[in-house]
């Protein structure tokens, strides 16, 4: 099942600053919503999202319940060389998803 959508420009020039767009499927249950019985539904959110570029961390974010469901996060990075971008999302209840994408730098 597709969990994440990653958008990287297809061909980039060395040194270019590119925008990376990410979208992941996750309910981001805040912990503040009451269920039909009046009890609060327990919190279940992604708490951390990072991106590494050929092993070096280039972006790190800490997420809170105020981030909307199916977190959409975009950020910029300098296209230094071709290689692998690794995206990792971790969160409550042992949630951990890793996706990779190739980047081609001319």
């Amino acid at each position: 099942m597709a969990r994440a959508l990653i958008n990287i420009p297809p061909k980039v020039k060395r040194g270019e600053v590119i925008e990376i767009k990410t979208l992941i499927s996750h309910v981001m249950e805040t912990g503040f919503r009451p269920s039909n019985t009046g009890q609060l539904i327990p919190r279940d959110i992604i708490t951390n999202f990072t991106c590494s570029y050929n092993g070096e961390e280039v972006f790190q974010s800490t997420l809170y319940p105020a981030i909307a469901a199916n977190p959409y996060i975009t950020f910029f990075t300098v296209a230094t060389e071709s290689g692998t971008l690794t995206f990792q999302w971790t969160g409550d209840n042992g949630y951990s998803v890793t996706e990779t994408a190739q980047i081609t730098v001319e």
Partner: protein, 163 residues
């Protein structure tokens, strides 16, 4: 004039008006109908227009995978009969449709389930389940931009019941 007479006059007037418009007072005439898109705020439209930021894309991707997955005791995928998902162009736009075999109007989700039962020998997908939403989203995506235009000719009784 007393209450009863006024009520029956009002009722008569409504009926006359309905006949004149050929629609109950609450129905929007065909040429005045607009997509919900027209009423969206700029930001909501931007989210819907951009496939890279629209969460629905995740369901469409799942649907594409399901389209190609073997299912049921017949071990057939949707692709085995229908070939490419793009062959579904225009299909979602003509639903609800009249199903001759079953003799009634059906929606897209029911049609998907009939295919599963009849051809894949697979159990039907639960309404609003992730798989059903994914498959119907992937199929509906093929009709993107097309006006919704079901063939109403066989469905007059169903439509009247809805009114």
């Amino acid at each position: 004039m007393n209450l009863r007479r006024r009520s029956s006059l009002l009722l008569a007037a409504t009926l006359v008006m309905s006949d004149v418009l050929l629609l109950p007072a609450s129905e929007i005439p065909l040429d005045a109908r607009r997509s919900g898109y027209d009423f969206m705020s700029r930001e909501t439209r931007a989210m819907q227009d951009d496939d890279t930021s629209n969460p629905a894309t995740l369901w469409v991707l799942d649907g594409e995978a399901l389209w190609n997955a073997k299912a049921g005791t017949a071990q057939k995928s949707c692709a085995d009969c229908h070939r490419d998902l793009s062959s579904m162009k225009g299909v979602a736009a003509r639903y609800p449709a009249f199903d001759d075999k079953r003799g009634k109007a059906v929606d897209l989700e029911s049609r998907i389930n009939f295919c599963r039962i009849d051809h894949q020998q697979a159990p039907p997908l639960a309404s609003e389940s992730r798989e059903m939403l994914a498959l119907s989203a992937a199929i509906a995506r093929q009709s993107r931009g097309e006006p919704i235009a079901p063939d109403e000719s066989k469905m007059a009784a169903t439509i009247d019941a809805g009114r």
